[in-house]
Symmetry: C2
Subunit: 353 residues, 2 copies
């Protein structure tokens, strides 16, 4: 391991020397603090530019002992589900940056109750906070909340879905339409002609809007590549296994000879379970999300493909974005679409959420 006392001329001390001022004044200029004559400011700015000076962020955070609070507002998770991965990613990012004085405040809401969102949001706004990371599941409630954020000049990033028309620091999540498109392409690769069933399962009317965007993309693919594919669709609003099976029995008997099924969310496991019970495993089945239960059916060959949305990376990237923007002062892209991952029984063991 080398050791080396710095001999190079750099840092605030050198700037101060060259400008013939104290380092305190240099500091004022670096941070755009007032109380510096225009002339001195000019002189120092020029020197900074010439030197290509980059402040030492370690020393800066150490000396200032500055603390930033970031708040995260997402659905609460139940065991092994999707949002569990998201919060895991957020926490992993926090581990990496907490030494810079980043405090993470977590707020969760219940996807079945809009009010829980507003309640959590209210709590959140009671404490000081320098940036927010939110999953705006409920359009109205989320809109109210971000209006509050805006009036307090708190920057926020959308995760997993966005609110069309509402400007945020950044959106991090999937391109829903395209992911539906991808599902369609996979089916059409394996099925040149036949009947395809689209299944939406959700009691959430609000989040239904996500599913619809996937469905649109799915349909559009066959419109452009129209061939011998017929499409049927069913919406299932009661999400217990029994109701799902009844609904599927209904549609299957009404429309004989379904060859492939596209489930627009992670409930594909319920459909897989149904297919096994009815000995219909040979149908092509595609759905969403790398969840334990889904992978089980993938391994068995009941589910052919899962489309992954990288919830953990979403969480990780989101918090990092906030950090890069607020602490490091780095510019960020407006949109950061997650990859559309294709998971199969051959590659699932190497998959990273």
């Amino acid at each position: 391991m080398g050791r080396q006392k710095s001999t190079e001329l750099s840092g605030v001390k050198e700037i101060a020397r060259r400008a013939n001022v104290s380092i305190a004044t240099v500091d004022r200029v670096i941070h755009n603090r007032k109380g510096v004559s225009e002339a001195t400011r000019q002189k120092i700015s020029t020197i900074i530019a010439e030197m290509g000076f980059q402040p030492n962020i370690l020393a800066s955070r150490l000396a200032s002992k500055k603390v930033n609070h970031f708040a995260v507002l997402i659905p609460k998770s139940t065991e092994t589900d999707y949002w569990e991965s998201t919060i895991k990613g957020v926490e992993r990012a926090h581990q990496e940056i907490k030494q810079y004085g980043i405090v993470l405040d977590k707020y969760f809401y219940d996807l079945n109750h809009k009010k829980s969102f507003s309640d959590a949001a209210k709590l959140l706004l009671k404490k000081h906070c320098d940036g927010v990371l939110l999953a705006p599941s409920f359009i109205r409630e989320a809109t109210d909340f971000i209006d509050d954020c805006q009036s307090r000049a708190i920057p926020y990033v959308f995760i997993n879905s966005d609110i069309p028309g509402k400007d945020s620091l950044c959106y991090i999540g999937p391109h829903l339409y395209k992911s539906g498109h991808q599902a369609a392409q996979l089916i059409s690769f394996g099925l040149k002609a036949g009947k395809v069933l689209i299944v939406n399962i959700s009691k959430e009317i609000d989040s239904y809007h996500h599913l619809l965007r996937k469905e649109e993309g799915f349909r559009a693919y066959f419109d452009n590549n129209r061939g011998a594919i017929k499409m049927i669709k069913i919406d299932i609003r009661d999400t217990d296994q029994r109701s799902i099976e009844d609904a599927l029995d209904g549609v299957m008997s009404e429309h004989q000879g379904v060859d492939a099924i596209f489930v627009t969310n992670s409930r594909v496991r319920s459909v897989a379970n149904y297919l096994v019970k009815r000995s219909l495993e040979n149908k092509i089945l595609i759905g969403y999300d790398f969840l334990q239960e889904n992978v089980k059916y993938l391994k068995q060959g009941v589910i052919d493909f899962l489309i992954g949305q990288k919830p953990e990376e979403q969480g990780y990237v989101s918090l990092m974005m906030l950090f890069q923007h607020i602490v490091m002062g780095v510019a960020m892209p407006k949109v950061n679409y997650m990859p559309i991952d294709i998971i199969t029984r051959e590659n699932y063991e190497f998959y990273k959420n």
Copy 2:
């Protein structure tokens, strides 16, 4: 933005106070330096454990001005190729950690000349270095080099491929066998019966060994799921377009009615080009790597699937591993397989190498 002077009792000062010693002695114990009586060491260790003390890495690196040199030894890249991405990932990681006093020394060799590897390795070993990241393309030469590393106690990580039997800090790269398996599954999803052609294109005898592991995995899939698939194979050692086309013409006329082609590396673009020239775009074509030229044919529908090996992430992760191990003292997994990514014309625009 909050500000807050620390009031909590923590840090070396507090340890020193509790142990009734100076902070210098505390420092000696923290870093296992000698020159401390066993009694004092015991006392201090206990206090450290009790407090759950974690040294402030920012302050530590700032005060010590310690510098670590990491060396990277990989093939030199030509424009937009695979290794270009790898070095990009390495450099991105370096950007993030250089503030900790990490210096990156880059060495490149020519994949067409084994000697260039040894030469670069010799150069590398002339300078001080705390860790090495290497792509061991040439087994013999790489083995000699890591023996040197071992005798100097320099830790090293393998990237992109490993040397079976040679223990390293860590291997970061694809699971070659499984990725061949994946290619086979995709083909079999789209082709229930027919003829499949395996194509190896490489003038490199050494790196041939990689391709072979992919081919093995590919074949094994059809052995397990044997059906109406016949396999043919061709090795092409002259990699100019003309020779490739001649070779393909030969095999195609000898074996009529090939339905699908699996190219075991990124040269799939050459085969795609050939198929276009002969108006054979309707055949299923699968190959490797997210390179511009390959994506061009993916968009056109000539290539059906590309398998991505995440070269950039390989580079990023590798350097981070070295950093985590050497600077942060964190334990690392022995193997870090990259995901086996499936890239299509529907999802390529969201793909990250």
